[in-house]
């Protein structure tokens, strides 16, 4: 039914403000970055200019971006994001189930506790994690109290992955919770009544029916992880730059916005690829979607 044809005025009224906002603050800046990614710094009086560009003059930025350093950094980002996403899923799935099957009077409180980290700034949460993991931090103090050996995980890969999981776990729990809550529990009862074991019921009934939530959770965690730079910047050591750090560096210290723009677009294409894979998976699971 084409409601919009019957209520044209209402439709366009509803559309205008949001569309205008998206156009002005999303499409226009991204368009500018897209142009910039094909630009080079202008030569003024025989010197490379600091501020002026030759627009649409080159594809050198994309050629440079295919250099081995950037592929390594992109590869790192994909690998660590994948690990963080899997850890999130393993932690979040039982957690979401537990919340769903908790007593109704507890459920709002448990959900609130899950959402609570959202209210605290990412930077503050990361600094808090530093306080826990640092050499004389709370973790080592606690280990020392029980006469256990000290750890030295801050400024390393495990700290970065821990940080990513810590920050993005709620993004995994919430979509899982919403699908598990909608799950018709009588299917589970039927499966068990008909003699299927608990594991069999999980693999054949529960998991397929909650798959849309799993996929949404994976997307919601994996994509922001891929572009993150703050976590690796603050918790990482000398071997922990991800592609996001390289992009930040190009827009900051290196003052090479055209190259930074090209790297950003490559990361965006990687993201589109992930979404494409998701669309294929959704089609295979016969249109079930969260």
């Amino acid at each position: 039914m084409d409601y919009w044809k019957d209520f044209r005025k209402v439709f366009f009224t509803l559309m205008t403000l949001g569309s205008f906002w998206m156009l002005l603050f999303f499409v226009v800046p991204m368009g500018f970055l897209f142009v910039l990614s094909f630009s080079s710094k202008a030569i003024v009086n025989g010197e490379t200019s600091i501020l002026d560009y030759n627009y649409f003059s080159t594809i050198a930025n994309y050629v440079d971006a295919a250099g081995s350093s950037y592929l390594v950094l992109l590869g790192r980002a994909v690998l660590w994001s994948a690990i963080a996403t899997i850890v999130c899923l393993l932690l979040a799935y039982p957690l979401a189930f537990a919340v769903c099957f908790s007593a109704p009077k507890w459920r709002p409180i448990l959900l609130l506790l899950l959402i609570l980290p959202f209210w605290i700034n990412l930077l503050i949460r990361t600094y808090a994690l530093i306080q826990v993991l640092r050499t004389n931090g709370f973790l080592n103090q606690a280990l020392g109290f029980f006469h256990l050996p000290q750890t030295d995980i801050l400024f390393g890969t495990s700290a970065v992955i821990m940080g990513l999981v810590y920050v993005y776990l709620p993004f995994m729990v919430l979509p899982l919770y919403s699908t598990i809550e909608k799950l018709d529990k009588s299917y589970l009862e039927a499966s068990l009544d008909l003699g299927a074991s608990q594991p069999r019921t999980f693999w054949s009934i529960t998991l397929p029916l909650t798959m849309p939530g799993v996929i949404t959770g994976i997307i919601l965690v994996f994509i922001p992880c891929l572009g993150s730079f703050l976590t690796s910047d603050l918790l990482g050591g000398p071997n922990n730059w991800m592609i996001g750090n390289a992009i930040q560096n190009q827009f900051g210290e290196a003052n090479n916005w055209p190259f930074g723009a090209a790297l950003s677009f490559i990361l965006m294409y990687a993201t589109f690829f992930v979404l494409f894979v998701r669309a294929m998976l959704t089609r295979r699971s016969k249109g079930v979607d969260a």
């Binding site: 010197e47 910047d233 050591g237 071997n239 390289a246 900051g252 290196a254």
Partner: protein, 357 residues
């Protein structure tokens, strides 16, 4: 319907009035500058009462915003001055900012207290005649260390790069400028080298050093040292002097490595398009006054280029070798320079390769 039309007309009228207001504003501020000043400065880099004292002396209400690095300052002004009058860039950014038309020439006649500056700070290679920048504070770059964890004074860059003594307990400033600077000095080259062979060797050295280095720090090496996360760090002299002052156990030290290092100067300048240039000149003159300068130094503890200000300080400050190194040591320290956009880009490619190695 009528109603809507008249509303639209009113809206247009209002917009027109706003437009006239916007175009008139510059004329108005030219006539008589409002008693306001916007300062953009580093954190913990001004006297406790400086802004209040300035207000008491001139009636000008000074507000201060903080930046964390020269890049942040540069990026902010690159998009157009958002309203800052006085800014505090480091010397190696002056040339770059002048080329990018970010600075306003300083009228020396309005800043008579320039005479208080040491002679060597009255002129500079990076700003001939000091047309755009006046010296604010200066210092060196070196190694901060924890005495109880060091066998001997760690007076060599080798200990931070290719010597296992402090493996896993080292932080180095994580920018291309300082990473390459340290590696180049270790190899006996100039801090500002743009020679591809020399930079290639420096890159190899830095890649090899990654197994010893715990972290490429931001401007927080001194905090990592104070909290015990690292035992040696490459940092600015002033930052180490600040944590040494705060450390009651007297367990921290600072040394300029024997291979030489870098010396830097922070400057005060007036941003192009500053809304209150008259007040900005008054502020520069105010902080260059001997007593006011000494008050700033008492809070921040950096080396002041201001002779009148230094004369008012106690001997403990004046004779502090960490703040004022010997002439021989300073001769080994290269001033950081603006290398041009192409050389900066080349260094940055190598820096990314080091990170990805």
């Amino acid at each position: 319907m009528n109603n809507i039309k008249s509303n639209r007309r009113q809206l247009l009228k209002g917009a027109g009035a706003a437009m006239v207001g916007i175009t008139l504003m510059p004329y108005k501020s030219m006539a008589a500058e409002e008693k306001k000043l916007n300062v953009y400065n580093w954190d913990t880099y001004i006297g406790e009462t400086t802004l209040a004292d300035f207000n008491a002396a001139t009636g000008i209400d000074a507000k201060m915003d903080l930046f964390g690095s020269n890049d942040e300052l540069f990026a902010k002004l690159k998009a157009g001055n958002p309203g800052y009058d006085v800014i505090v860039p480091s010397s190696n950014y002056i040339e770059r900012m002048v080329k990018a038309n970010m600075l306003m020439p300083i009228d020396h006649a309005k800043v008579p207290n320039i005479a208080n500056l040491d002679k060597q700070f009255q002129d500079a290679d990076f700003d001939p005649g000091r047309k755009y920048s006046l010296a604010y504070m200066w210092g060196t770059f070196g190694i901060g260390y924890r005495k109880s964890k060091a066998k001997a004074t760690p007076d060599s860059w080798h200990l931070l790069l290719d010597d296992p003594t402090y493996a896993g307990r080292i932080s180095i400033q994580g920018t291309a400028e300082f990473g390459f600077g340290i590696a180049l000095k270790t190899l006996g080259y100039n801090w500002n080298s743009t020679d591809a062979t020399e930079l290639g060797k420096a890159k190899d050295l830095l890649i090899a050093s990654k197994k010893n280095i715990k972290i490429f720090a931001k401007d927080n090496g001194q905090d990592l040292l104070a909290s015990g996360d690292v035992d040696v760090c490459a940092e600015y002299s002033g930052d180490i002097v600040q944590v040494m002052k705060a450390d009651t156990t007297n367990d921290l030290g600072y040394v300029i490595p024997k291979e030489g290092s870098n010396r830097w100067q922070d400057t005060v300048a007036i941003a192009a398009g500053a809304p209150h240039p008259e007040n900005a000149h008054a502020f520069l003159n105010f902080i260059l006054d001997g007593q006011n300068n000494a008050n700033i130094v008492k809070t921040i503890g950096y080396a002041t280029p201001n002779a009148a200000g230094r004369a008012l300080m106690d001997d403990e400050y004046k004779n502090n070798k960490n703040i004022f190194p010997s002439d021989e040591q300073l001769a080994m320290c290269d001033p950081g320079k603006y290398l041009g956009e192409d050389a900066t880009k080349y260094r940055d490619e190598l820096w990314t390769a080091i990170q990805a190695a």
